[in-house]
């Protein structure tokens, strides 16, 4: 039966039925085939799947990112990043990465970064003679750090699914996120020297300081968010609301880039973007329900125990599996569906849930730039007016960087855990 459902899933997906509905239809038909469960369970679990306080962080962080883009904070960050790394060969590409890392400290998602930064940097990179591959590739690939550097919507969801500490996950994402950024910059430098990309003139200290002051309120956001959560001042969900208010105030009264009349559009965009992924999540909850009636968690645990004896092999399988799932599914529904199934096995192997979370989230971040369903790749390709195939070829070298850091985190977790243990040993 499971096999037929899988076929149905693939066929519906192939003929172009929206993927959230494909998930819902498979859940509905699956429940139909279990004689002892009423079909109304599907409608019920769609609501129950959304009935969780942590999920409210999703629209709130999207709201914060939309406010940043409308308030042109992205531009301030770009100017500041350019002043720092512009003088290096391939300066614009370096700035692209650096600004994504800064943006990641405010935003919990990646798409807003691709859109906001890409719209500005892809055209200007092309004007300065960068080839399309580099401009689109760097833009898409560097925005993956959006969900790895805290705050991060997937981390909040993961914490909600496993009772892992949000604070520990957030802190654990800092080092891997920075390493990915640095790795990409090294790669860019090599390419830039080979293709003789331009570099900017060094900026005077005084000018640099002015630009820093200009970007400072935006750069303060991560400190407020992370500090507030770690110190127990507010929860992760509340932090998202605080981030929105803070961004709105800064843009309206400090930068004066945001007006009241901008709000209806910002609110609509927020509603639109978040309801798309959350509706998929609701459908995934129904499918997850079906899997729990089949007791797939216990089955998976038995399978891994009998066939896979070692933790490292288990980790490799998880990475391969989520790489595959990430090609056609968003991180949130993917986690809702599969994390409950692998969690018991991971605990059995003695893995810390925070460690598992970092691995899963970094792997699914790669899904943001792998076709057919990689939102950041699609966005960047659209902005750069390049085909998906060509864009994917362009991001492959950068995916390798993320993979290398991922393997580090997977097998040398002490590295990722250094910061959380330093700041807050009680989390472990």
């Amino acid at each position: 039966m499971g096999f037929l459902l899988l076929i149905l899933f693939l066929v519906l997906m192939f003929i172009g039925v929206p993927i959230a509905f494909v998930i819902g239809i498979v859940a509905l038909i699956g429940i139909l085939t279990i004689p002892y469960t009423p079909e109304a369970t599907v409608a019920m679990t769609m609501v129950n799947g959304l009935d969780s306080f942590v999920l409210i962080a999703v629209p709130l962080f999207i709201l914060a990112a939309n406010l940043m883009n409308s308030g042109k904070i992205s531009e301030k960050l770009i100017d500041f990043a350019l002043a720092i790394v512009g003088p290096i060969r391939g300066g614009l590409a370096h700035a692209n990465v650096l600004v994504s890392m800064m943006f990641a400290g405010v935003s919990g998602a990646s798409q807003a970064d691709t859109a906001g930064v890409g719209k500005i940097l892809i055209p200007s990179m092309e004007r300065k003679g960068y080839d399309k591959e580099t401009s689109v590739g760097v833009t898409a690939a560097s925005s993956t750090v959006g969900v790895i550097i805290p705050p991060s919507i997937p981390m909040i969801i993961f914490a909600g699914l496993t009772n892992a500490s949000v604070g520990a996950l957030f802190l654990g994402g800092i080092i891997p996120g920075i390493l990915i950024g640095l790795g990409m910059m090294i790669l860019i430098y090599v390419i830039a020297v080979k293709r003789n990309y331009p570099k900017d003139k060094r900026v005077e200290m005084k000018k640099l300081f002015t630009l820093f002051l200009d970007a400072f309120p935006a750069l303060l956001t991560p400190v407020i968010i992370i500090g507030g959560i770690i110190s127990g001042f507010f929860t992760a969900t509340e932090a998202a609301a605080v981030a929105s208010i803070y961004t709105a105030i800064v843009c309206m009264f400090y930068y004066k880039t945001l007006k009241m009349k901008d709000f209806p559009k910002i609110l609509f965009d927020t509603l639109a973007l978040s309801s798309l992924s959350l509706f998929a999540l609701a459908a995934a909850s129904a499918l997850g329900e079906l899997m729990s009636y089949y007791q797939l968690g216990a089955t998976a645990q038995a399978f891994f125990e009998n066939n896979i004896g070692s933790q490292w092999l288990f980790i490799l399988i998880i990475i391969a599996f989520f790489l595959f799932v990430g090609t056609f599914m968003d991180a949130i529904p993917a986690m809702i569906l599969f994390v409950p199934i692998i969690l018991p096995t991971a605990l059995e192997f003695g893995m810390d849930p925070v460690h598992l979370g970092l691995i899963v989230i970094m792997t699914l971040a790669i899904g943001l730039i792998t076709p057919p369903y990689g939102l950041c790749l699609l966005l960047a390709a659209k902005i750069g007016n390049m085909s998906i195939e060509r864009s994917f070829v362009a991001v492959v070298p950068y995916i390798a960087i993320v993979l290398i850091v991922l393997l580090f985190v997977a097998f040398l977790p002490d590295m990722a855990f250094y910061i959380p243990e330093l700041i807050s040993p009680s989390l472990f």
């Binding site: 500490s165 127990g232 009636y293």
Partner: protein
């Protein structure tokens, strides 16, 4: 959809579920006993599938599934039952309703228990039928300082229910009820977000709350001899033949015995573990607490219209 479904080979299937994911939880022991007896007595004609948190880790979800028929047997606490519109059951979650464990036993296993079972069945239009009363242990205070009198509670922020009779009681004692989710409580106690909490030994010791600075002093306030309802979907029960009903009732009885036994054992076992791991336990003179509770219980019983039942329960304390 009122009948238990027959599998292809003619066997009936019962989906039984509780919300605890840990396999050595008393609920799991209880439902496994239920399964064992049902399957043995029916010679395998009825199969029981036990779900430990897999089809819902939230009790309200389980109650909804029971009503809808997506689960046949579930375990729930009084607080969640009230949300289905049956307010009377909330009496069993009121603080200091019972003097001791024996008092609780006399209540639920006697006339009062039967009366409550009837209320549940009638008010839910036969969606829920009570199979037995389980226990989730005895709840005590634990916090950053030992509590010996009601005075010691004054001004302490205290993780407990933030609404209803439980909250009213602790507010009257002088504590400040605060709502922190169970998952965030360990960190909350560790980082001084909240001064104290309350629960039964197995639950908070498994979460290591007793190892935190704000959880190391355990004072045995015994404010709640907890009740859990083992429920079956009434319509499905009625559709079983007499013999099958008999089997289910017998299995429920056996499960009640097992579950209570395991709960008592674990209460003691985890208390010892807490002491071994450095927590300090003190006994509390409950009289002053009981005195504060009485008028609150009176008002509450009036509000949910169970004054007579409250009197009956009080009368049982004297025996």
């Amino acid at each position: 959809n009122d009948e238990l479904e027959e599998e292809e080979d003619g066997t009936l299937k019962i989906i039984a579920a509780h919300n605890q994911t840990s396999p050595d939880n008393p609920y799991q022991a209880g439902l496994l006993k239920f399964k064992e007896v049902v399957e043995e007595e029916s010679d395998g004609a009825i199969e029981v599938e036990v779900h430990a948190g897999t089809i819902g880790t939230e009790e309200d979800e389980l109650v909804e599934k029971l009503q809808l028929g997506a689960a046949d047997v579930v375990v729930v606490s009084p607080g969640f039952m009230t949300q289905t519109g049956i307010r009377e059951v909330d009496l069993f979650s009121a603080p200091y309703l019972f003097n001791d464990y024996e008092h609780w036993l006399r209540t639920v296993d006697g006339e009062v228990g039967e009366e409550m079972a009837q209320i549940i069945n009638e008010k839910s239009d036969n969606s829920f039928k009570l199979l037995g009363y389980w226990s989730a242990g005895t709840r005590h205070y634990y916090g950053k300082q030992p509590v010996e009198s009601t005075e010691d509670m004054r001004g302490l922020s205290f993780r407990t229910q933030t609404s209803g009779v439980v909250s009213d009681f602790w507010t009257e004692v002088g504590a400040i009820p605060s709502g922190i989710s169970w998952g965030e409580l360990y960190q909350g106690l560790q980082q001084d977000v909240v001064d104290s909490s309350e629960n039964a030994y197995p639950f908070f010791v498994q979460q290591s709350h007793h190892t935190t600075p704000n959880g190391q002093y355990i004072s045995e306030t015994a404010h709640d001899y907890t009740t859990r309802f083992l429920l079956i979907n009434g319509e499905r029960f009625d559709n079983l033949d007499e013999n099958q009903q008999q089997i289910v009732s017998e299995a429920a009885e056996a499960s009640v015995e097992t579950e209570r036994e395991v709960t008592l054992e674990q209460d003691e076992e985890y208390k010892q573990q807490a002491i071994e791991e450095g927590a300090e336990v003190n006994e509390v003179n409950r009289e002053p607490f009981i005195e504060i509770a009485q008028p609150i219980l009176d008002d509450f019983a009036e509000e949910i219209e169970v004054e007579e039942m409250l009197e009956k329960i009080r009368a049982l304390a004297e025996e």
